[in-house]
Symmetry: C2
């Protein structure tokens, strides 16, 4: 007699209804070819008559496999991740994995908490945004012996699989594009300033210094980036450095916000001020003029992650690797 009458239909109920053991029912679901066709049909009809819903916890516990993978992203509202996520989900979904999504809010402490949570859930792999983690998170990942993907930026010392692009080089290249077009007093505008934003900023500094130009025209804030903030910060920068010829914004949101502010001020872009963003989101192609940006291969990142991860999950040995998927500069019309 059951201790708790959960009310839930179990394999046992199906088995009794059909007159077989629950193992046979389980087998009919997992390895149908091992069960005779006639019996399989009876089992299937019992299953949907009674409304059986498998208990994932029980299955995972018994088999030691959860068929799920955790994908951590910095923020749900950051559209940069939606294409990456699509690639991942299509690839892993087809192989029978469920993708569990969590968001870190750009905090490696929260990332640590989520890694812990999802390891409790028994995920078979973890996909993390970035290569910076707390020490404790590293310890958890190492001990768990689970495939790990670090994405977005590249690192010299990948934990396992690392797929992304060289953010510093991308920042440098975009700045160089300004310089190639003859702009000299090029500023940098950044928000949030997570690690990747810092790398882009460093890329800007590198290019400016190499050209013997000043890196003083730089305004950053730890606040979350937004259109509105882009406009406000542009205003501050113009006030402080009225001689600015161009501004490289750390991401597309800021660039769009800056563009809107220019429109309000009837500042001609790019004639009076050139602008560029980073990521190549939809909006950069839609504005008037379209925004210059660094187009990142997000869909390809997602696909690559899925492919490499599946190989690891199928047994490929741990062999830390960094894969650089590059980027493309798009001049748009704002530069």
């Amino acid at each position: 007699m059951p201790r708790r009458s959960s009310g839930r239909v179990t394999l046992q109920h199906i088995a009794e209804r059909v007159g077989v053991t629950k193992v046979t029912v389980s087998r009919a679901l997992r390895e149908p070819h091992l069960v005779s066709a006639a019996l399989r049909l009876r089992i299937e009809s019992a299953i949907d008559e009674l409304g059986y819903i498998p208990n994932h916890s029980a299955g995972a516990l018994a088999s030691g496999r959860s068929h799920s993978v955790a994908l951590l992203i910095p923020s749900l509202s950051n559209s940069v991740f939606s294409e990456i996520q699509r690639g991942i989900e299509e690839g892993l979904g087809a192989a029978g994995y469920q993708v569990l999504i969590g968001h870190t809010g750009y905090s490696i402490l929260e990332e640590e908490r989520l890694i812990d949570t999802y390891l409790c859930y028994g995920v078979e792999a973890l996909i993390l945004p970035g290569s910076r983690h707390t020490d404790h998170a590293r310890r958890l990942l190492t001990r768990a012996r689970v495939p790990v993907v670090e994405t977005l930026e590249l690192t010299e010392t990948p934990l396992d699989i690392n797929v992304g692009l060289d953010q510093h080089e991308a920042g440098r290249a975009m700045t160089q594009t300004f310089l190639d077009q003859g702009y000299r007093r090029v500023g940098f505008l950044g928000a949030r300033m997570d690690y990747r934003a810092q790398l882009r900023l460093a890329g800007w500094e590198t290019a400016m210094r190499q050209a013997g130009l000043s890196t003083e025209r730089c305004l950053t804030t730890p606040h979350p980036s937004s259109y509105r903030l882009g406009g406000e910060m542009l205003a501050s920068m113009l006030e402080r450095w009225p001689d600015l010829e161009g501004i490289f914004c750390g991401n597309d949101d800021l660039a769009a916000g800056a563009l809107f502010e220019c429109q309000r001020r009837r500042l001609d872009v790019p004639a009076q001020l050139a602008l560029a963003g980073f990521n190549g989101l939809d909006i950069t192609e839609a504005t008037a003029p379209p925004l210059a940006t660094v187009v990142t291969p997000r869909r390809r990142i997602g696909d690559t992650i899925a492919t490499r991860l599946l190989a690891r999950l199928k047994g490929a040995p741990l062999a830390p690797i960094s894969e650089d998927l590059g980027f493309r500069i798009r001049r748009g019309g704002s530069l």
Copy 2:
């Protein structure tokens, strides 16, 4: 002797290390006040020496509780949901629930699949976008006897908890705002045309008809909405109905895209063409001019869902209810 040496540290390992039974260790974790302070300390240090990670599946199986809730959203890239989600996550997170996110891609078939998946995971509640579901999904939900939240739009026949706003009325009210400002030839531009978009369109029709005006200036597409699409569709509409005085766009993305197209055409907004969107996303406040929009109380929707759901999870009986959180019209500068 273990059948599979999973390598994973279990309660049993901790127990042996400390010299107690695993039940005591389990208790130290779940109900620390029932374990003596000295022992608790020894257990805790053993736990982080050995790096114990609880097995959620085992706990869920034994206790019949998963401490998790599923949140389905139409699309990860739809920023409408990020604030709703924040409210939900804060409320439920504080009460010890983990929120599992899935996205339906605006498809009720995919929603059905996800409902099934998450019921397998044993979620203790489901939060769904909208009130339209497949018959099978309804059957699953009913049989599972799990609290369900339907959100975004309101319905006459909620399955359980329904929190949202009257999309038809909001569409009507925004259209009325055009009319109040003296606009007469007001068109409607819509994409994706999911159920909520249809309700907004219907609201527009209602207002126009009530005012004795034509509802012919309407262009919709099943394609996903985007900035670019907003621009393209605006172009089509202007070509077809050059006499348009204003356009109500089914969402903010389309409205922003339409605004950008106006800027390219040097069409003055609102003097030559008034525009409005729907949702009150950030971008509507940033553009030049700011976009008129229907501001939806997304954060409050999230908070309300969390509150009502927690009450149900704590045992409040099933008593289907619709809660209307209203909306606010913001004229911006584009209308």
